[in-house]
Amino acid sequence: MIEFKDVTKTFKSFDAVKGITCQIMDKEIFGLLGPNGAGKTTLIMTMATVYRPTKGEVIVEGHSATGEPDKVKSLIGISFQDPKYDRILTAREILDWHAKVTGLDKAVREKRIDEVLAKFGLTSEARKRTWTLSGGTKKKIENAKVFVQRPKIAVFDEPTAYLDVPSRLMVWDMIDELRDEGSTVLLATNMMDEADRMSDRVGIMSRGEMVQVGEPEGLKGTLKGRDVIELKLERVIPELPGEVSKVEEVKEAVFEGDVLKIVLSNGRGLLPYLINVVTAKGGKVNSVNLKEPTLEDVFLYYTGMELS
């Protein structure tokens, strides 16, 4: 388990992370969401003992990140957002060095490197200097470091950035496999579909604070009453918003052009009834659009920001 206890990290006078308290359970995939500058990387690097918390404490598998940094580091493997390795070296050399320094013996690391390179389809490129490779291939090699290491705590920062769709799916499967083998996964991402699909729970960071933690479905539930039905009508009927607003679940109803926009709870259940109300008032519905809260809506609601 990873425990953040009132963790603050201040650089000069800037609080990059402010009083974060949360727990990440064993074998959990925890999605860490937040716009650029929210403090995700600082939080990860504090957990990885690269930064010392200015206040508070991080406990990883019972070891204090401040008191026993080497023990904590030996449990963690990080795949960084931008590939971080010597580009003068080949993929095989990079993976071999990483596996060696993280404590894998020769036979194990050679077997794992072969397996991971084969899975990524990189066997034939493994002996080329990595500076000659494409952005997607470089990213695969960055991810491969953690898949070869198979650490107790695996951290992926934007693991599918620059990757094509088949590669994204493969990385997701490999992360699932890693968790099934017993790793706890911290997944920092700006891709909401990725967080929604992969995470058991997500934590949303904004301006250095953890503003919300929970299961994706549960968090979407917190936005209950924020379904939106858009009815495109043949003509504007001025009394319709007032009529529709008489329904208890409707929070708001307004015309935007010839579209009647209704904010409500249980939009799916009430849609037929609302169409009847509109039709009874002489309205003719040309098209219907029902929008239920997504993780992206949750993110935007709690951060009050746009995704970058």
Partner: protein
């Protein structure tokens, strides 16, 4: 799952990484070797002829100093590597690996020294041969002396890399530091012929100490001992400490996302 590796293992792997990156850049080796050979067989031969009227064998004196200067120059490269790693964010990766910051600095300083030693060992053997010195034990001793010097110079170079944030300023400072450590020393000219104001500084220089120790091994009529050894060891200890301290300051000092 992986396990925590031992300190000795980590040092070996850090040195191995510096060697791997070195082997991939043979132009550095070619460049420094050519420079050494030209200095030895053109500059030193020429000045030796001029100085022969003073009854001073400048070629022998210079040949040792040239090896010491070359390893000094090569040891400075590790700071350039670290500066680049910091700029590229590679340092974050390296510091997230299972070893402490101090062990990392020690490993990189030793990596820089081992790289330097690999470069200059053939040069040292050539110089021993030219100076008429053939004892393997003495040659190994001289290599040990320049290895200690190179470890300290690597520490100095790492300290500068962690101290200076601006790339242009860093390039200038490294060039100046390299110039000062070699030129304000008895590596390539005798202390007695230096400007008086520089003589006290040069006498405390670790490059002077290393040059004098190797000359005392190779050449008759030269002596050196405890004083020079203490200066070398102090130099290594000071810059290992400063390198570690400034690495910590750089990491904690203000990069955030």
């Amino acid at each position: 799952m992986s396990s925590k590796p031992s300190s000795l293992f980590v040092l070996r792997v850090l040195i191995e990484r510096d060697l791997r990156t070195l082997v991939k850049s043979p132009w550095i080796l070619i460049n420094r070797t050519l420079f050494f050979l030209i200095q030895l067989f053109v500059f030193a031969v020429l000045v030796s002829k001029l100085a022969s009227s003073l009854g001073f064998n400048y070629f022998d004196f210079y040949s040792v100093g040239a090896v010491v200067s070359t390893i000094t120059s090569i040891a400075f490269i590790i700071g350039e590597d670290l500066f680049e790693e910091e700029e590229l964010g590679l340092l974050d990766y390296l510091l997230s690996l299972p070893f402490g910051h101090s062990l990392f600095v020690l490993g990189r300083a030793l990596g820089g020294a081992v790289r330097g030693l690999i470069y200059v060992t053939p040069m040292m053997i050539l110089v021993a041969y030219l100076d008429g010195y053939f004892s393997p034990a003495g040659i190994i001793g001289s290599l040990l002396v320049i290895f200690v010097l190179a470890t300290g110079i690597s520490g100095l170079s790492i300290t500068l890399a962690m101290l200076i944030r601006n790339a242009n300023r860093f390039d200038i400072m490294i060039a100046l530091a390299e110039l000062a450590t070699v030129r304000v020393s008895a590596a390539i000219y005798p202390l007695a012929y230096m400007p008086q104001v520089l003589q006290p500084v040069a006498s405390y220089s670790p490059v002077t100490s290393a040059s004098d120790l190797v000359r005392a091994i190779f050449l008759p009529g030269y002596s050196a001992g405890i004083y020079e050894t203490v200066i070398l060891i102090l130099f290594v200890a000071i810059f290992f400490g400063l390198g570690s301290a400034f690495l910590f300051r750089t990491i904690e000092g203000g990069k955030f996302d």
